[in-house]
Subunit: 288 residues, 2 copies
Amino acid sequence: MRYGGVEAGGAKFVCAVGTGPQDLIRASIATTSPSETLEQVIEFFRGVLKNGPLAALGVGSFGPIDLDPDSPTFGHITSTPKPGWVGVDVCGEIRRALELPVAFDTDVNAAALAEYRWGAAQGLENFLYVTVGTGIGGGALVRGTPLHGRSHPEMGHMRIPHDRAEDPFPGTCPFHGDCLEGLASGFAIERRWGVQAESLPVGHPGWRLEAEYLALGLANLAAVLSPRRIVIGGGVMHNSELLAQIRERLNQYLNGYIHTPGIVAPLLGDDAGVLGAIALAQRKIEAS
Amino acid sequence: MRYGGVEAGGAKFVCAVGTGPQDLIRASIATTSPSETLEQVIEFFRGVLKNGPLAALGVGSFGPIDLDPDSPTFGHITSTPKPGWVGVDVCGEIRRALELPVAFDTDVNAAALAEYRWGAAQGLENFLYVTVGTGIGGGALVRGTPLHGRSHPEMGHMRIPHDRAEDPFPGTCPFHGDCLEGLASGFAIERRWGVQAESLPVGHPGWRLEAEYLALGLANLAAVLSPRRIVIGGGVMHNSELLAQIRERLNQYLNGYIHTPGIVAPLLGDDAGVLGAIALAQRKIEAS
C-alpha cells in the first residue's frame, strides 16, 4: 500500500508518494500564498490518486501549529511570522479535498520519526532531533512516539546565556530577540556577519560563537529530556568542523553531572522531512 | 491491598504505608550514612509487614540515579554531591532485604505522579512539576507516564541568561556554577543574601531576581515540553507573592508565541513525595 507525504516548509512544500527511502517519488512546490500552494499540493495528489489509492497522507508542517485534538483550530498554523499563513487550516484543507485520512505533526517531529525508522536513530525510543537552518527546531521521541504536550515543542525558542559584552548582536527572533533561534539560526548568522552560513569561512570566529550557543541549547535539552542520542542537521550544520566543536563544548557544559549523549548527523539528509511525513501516514494506519 | 512508599531525600527518608492521601501512615528517618539510613528504612517496613503484606514498594529518590533497565547499576545513585551516597544501590538494598517488588524513580517524577493522581494536575496527561527547595528539580508526565530518556531529567541544571553586571553572584552549583539551580535554589538564595529564603523579606530585591530566573527556567521548559499546566512548589515558593511575579514574567518571556501554561501551587504539599512513592508502587502492580 502506498502512502502520501507532505513536508510543508516556509520556502517549499515537498510532496511525495511511496513507502520509504527506497521508492520515494516526489515533487517540490514553492510556498507562495496558502490558497495557491495548497491547490498545487492537492493537484499533485489528485494526479497520484488516478494511478491507484493511497492508504493515508502525512503532513509535517512548519509552525507553530495547533495539535490539540480537542481544539476547534486543530491542524491550523497558529502564530507563524510568515505573512498570510496565520490561521491556515493546512491539515483540514488537504483532508477535505482528497478525502483521505491525514496525520498532522510538526516538520521536526516528522523528521525525527524518519530518522528513527530509517536513519540515525534506529531502535532508539528516546532521542532528540534538532535542525539548524533558517530557524532552529527540535523534535523528540519519547517511548517511540513524538513528544507532544498541550501542543508541540518549540525548542528553538529557549533562552540561553548571551554575553552582550562579547556578542552585542541583539538576536533576530521577532518574538524573543536573543533566544537560541534568534542567536544561532542561519538567519541570525546572515544578519550578524552579512553573509549566509554557507559562505562564512571555516575558522571564522562566528563558528566558535555558533558552537557555543548550540552546545548551550543542547545542554538544556539534554537536561530536560535525557535523550539517548542527539541527531542534529540542517543547512548550518554543513560546516565540517561544527559538529566536533559542539561535542567538545557540550561535554564541558554538562561537566560529568549527567551523561553526555552522542551527537550525530542525520542519515536521511534533505529527505528526512518528507520521509517523516510518509512515516506519519504509516503510523496513522498502524494505529487504526 | 496496602502499598509502601519511600521518599528518599538528602535530609530525610520519609517512609509510608497506605493507598493514598486518605489513609497514609508515615515515619521520618534522618539521612545519615547509607548503611544506617537504609537499615532504619528496612526496619520500619519489617515492622509494617508483621501486620500484613504489602503489594509493592515505591521509592522516589534524590539523584541523579540510574534508571536505565539495561544498566548494571540500575537503581543506584550516581553523581550526587552528597558525601557517601555516590554509587549506593538504594533500590536493590531495599528490594533484597524486604523481598518485595520495588518501583524506583526520581523524587520529582514521583511527586508529579502524586499531583496527577490526587492533586493539582488530575486528568492532565501532559504536565510539568517543578520544586524549588534546597535544589531545583522537575518531573514531567508525558501521556500520563513520567518522562524518562536514557535516564531522567535534571531540569534544574539548565543554563539560563545571567546578567553578571546586574547580578555578579557566581552561582552555587558545584558542577555548573550559574545554572538555574545555581542561581535560584534555596541554597543559592541563602548564599547570595546571607539569610534563608524563608527569612528574606517580601519586597526584597532578591525576590524580583528569583522570579526572573524561575520564569526563564519555566519558559524554557514550556518551549521544550509544551505542558498543559505547571505545578510549582518547594520551600522557596512559600513566599506569597512569588507565584504571581513568575506568572507575569513568564507571559512576557513567551510573548504570545506559544501558549502560556497555567502555573499553580501543588495541592499535596509536603506529602507529594511520599504519596508519589505509593503511586509508583501502585503503577508497578497495575502494569503487571
